[in-house]
């Protein structure tokens, strides 16, 4: 299945990726190759297989509602590119 240039551009935009013309060409080829590869699944008869929500059989992995100590704020903020001792700081983002 061919992934078009338009689709590559849309997917890149959704992922906030800026691609050069060269990269777009590469992506077109890569993504087309992948979808082509997965097309082989179409040959399998899945009419008797229920939809799969997860590859593992486990269900109901739950924890009791119990509060535990949180992390030290300084330790959490240590990885932030910018911070003020209380908060993470990012460029102004108003929806």
């Amino acid at each position: 299945m061919k992934v078009t240039r338009k689709e590559v551009e849309r997917i890149a935009a959704l992922g906030r990726l800026e691609l050069s013309e060269e990269q777009k060409r590469e992506m077109e080829a890569h993504l087309s190759g992948m979808t082509e590869h997965f097309k082989m699944l179409d040959a399998v008869d899945t009419s008797s297989v229920p939809p799969t929500a997860h590859i593992l059989d486990k269900v109901n992995v739950l924890r009791p509602d119990k509060a535990e100590p949180s992390f030290e704020r300084d330790a959490l903020l240590a990885n932030a590119p910018e911070r003020d001792g209380e908060c993470y700081i990012v460029p102004r983002a108003v929806e």
Partner: protein, 473 residues
């Protein structure tokens, strides 16, 4: 003339002890980023583990709203880029939510109306952005708070219906104990989908106004958007499907531009969380834990406790008030007197400016004690207000407050008699009217005595003394 059609999406934070996918405390407020860990701060490589209480509360809500509970539900990632979500996706439920279908009954102008529920799903709340100057500061305390989204069908047709429905829903959520539903703290928020059409025609294009956090904002934003859409159509224009914001201070709605191109959440199954499977027994177990709702309580108050329907309705409008009444009436065995006192003094005192909630600062035991003190003549009704002020949100007992403030009313008839005599002497014409058969002035004279003794006299005794003194005169 256009008719409006409304569908609501209600976001409700669940009152669990810990967050939905980690053990951080679920608590409003707190210093920024102090209820956080790598899971709710979206660090790479962390694994979420689902809070069983959040599932239980969502199912409890579904049962209270007459929904079908899914035996099998799963988790999905809703992808979008905005710094309030540190992972760049919100863990939510897409095609297999915990609850489907259902309905809510609410009352407007004495009529019972119904709104159908489309679905209820569980997700995580996002963090809070504080915009300051050229930057945004992020506080992730709210990130990962269990958030339940209730989606209605488009069954509402006026702002009054929307508010009455929300009020009814809020009451149910509070009664079943899943949320504290404080709109001013954001634990209950509402998105409004609105379209207009001429009667009989198919629904128009809808817009969505997001994040309304008071009944007043819901009402005003609906009226604003209705007028705006009618204006566009009357001018020959067309409505664009869009997401809008409401500026509560300026009372205007505005479009959130530039989201159209990115409006694709690319939902896909969350690989880090296992599906939830609920057995019939588990669902029944949750159903049994649902506390008595408003309707049932009204029946008990009117049938067993002999209250008028009017009282029962006012007392049950808010669960905290209903609980206070029940606790008080269990000790102080005059339900009507307890009801009267709560409807007047407690509701007046507990009402907060700009809030739909009544805050209660007195325990049922303390209120029962105050009522007993009034009933046995130890304090006057007037003095009880000072007692209430003294014990409100405090640890002092009503009796201790009475002694400390010297509010014990005078029942010494000798002392009172001289006070009454003085008042009669000072109000000779009123006394004459009384003697001439005008009973109404008695209340005036009692009032004068109460004033002269600074409210510390037993009004019943004062009345008797006035009668005695003026009759034998």
């Amino acid at each position: 003339m256009y008719e409006m059609t409304l569908g609501l999406e209600i976001h409700c934070e669940l009152k669990t002890e810990s967050k939905i996918f980690c053990g951080c405390r679920n608590e409003f407020g707190g210093e920024p980023n102090t209820h956080c860990c790598p899971v709710c701060s979206g660090f790479p490589g962390v694994m979420p583990v689902l809070n069983e209480k959040a599932v239980e509360y969502t199912v409890r809500t579904g049962l209270a709203l007459n929904c079908e509970i899914s035996r099998y539900s799963k988790w999905d990632r809703k992808n979008y880029f905005y710094p309030d979500l540190p992972k760049a996706w919100q863990t939510s439920q897409y095609d297999l939510p915990l609850c489907k279908g259902g309905f809510v009954e609410y009352e407007l102008d004495g009529k019972i109306k119904t709104v159908r529920i489309n679905r209820i799903h569980l997700e995580e709340d996002a963090g809070k952005l504080l915009h300051e100057g050229g930057v945004s500061r992020i506080d992730y305390n709210r990130s990962g708070v269990p958030l339940m989204e209730i989606v209605t069908e488009p069954d509402l047709h006026s702002e009054a219906e929307a508010v009455a429905f929300l009020d009814g829903l809020k009451s149910v959520l509070k009664y079943i104990g899943v949320s504290d539903v404080k709109m001013q703290e954001g634990s209950l928020r509402c998105d409004v989908n609105l379209s207009v059409a001429k009667p009989g025609q198919k629904l128009g294009t809808r817009t969505e106004t997001k994040n309304l956090n008071s009944f007043s904002a819901v009402k005003r934003s609906i009226l604003f958007e209705y007028d705006r859409q009618c204006g566009v159509l009357n001018a020959g224009g067309t409505i664009t499907q869009e997401t809008r914001r409401w500026d509560d201070n300026k009372s205007v709605g505005y479009s959130m531009r530039g989201k159209e191109d990115a409006h694709d959440y690319r939902y896909f199954p969350e690989p880090d969380l296992m599906p939830v499977v609920l057995s019939g027994e588990k669902i029944e177990e949750i159903r049994k834990a649902i506390p008595r709702l408003k309707k049932e309580r009204i029946a008990i108050y009117t049938e067993k406790l002999g209250l008028p329907l009017y009282d029962a309705r006012i007392l049950t409008a808010d669960k905290d008030i209903a609980d206070l009444f029940e606790g008080t009436a269990a000790v102080f065995k005059n339900p009507k007197k307890a009801s009267n006192y709560i409807m007047s003094e407690i509701m007046r005192k507990g009402k907060r400016e700009g809030s739909e909630d009544v805050e209660i600062g007195v325990s049922p035991a303390a209120l029962a004690e105050i009522l007993t003190l009034i009933d046995s003549g130890v304090i006057s009704l007037a003095a009880s207000k000072d007692v209430l002020d003294a014990v409100w949100n405090g640890a002092e007992s009503p009796l201790a407050a009475v002694e400390r403030l010297g509010l014990r009313q005078n029942s010494d008839s000798g002392e009172l008699e001289s006070a009454v005599k003085e008042v009669i002497a000072a109000n000779a014409s009123a006394a004459e009217q009384y003697k001439a058969g005008n009973q109404k002035v008695a209340a005036f004279l009692v009032g004068q005595v109460m004033k002269a003794t600074k409210g510390k006299s037993n009004p019943k005794l004062v009345g008797e003394l006035i009668e005695k003194l003026l009759k034998t005169n």
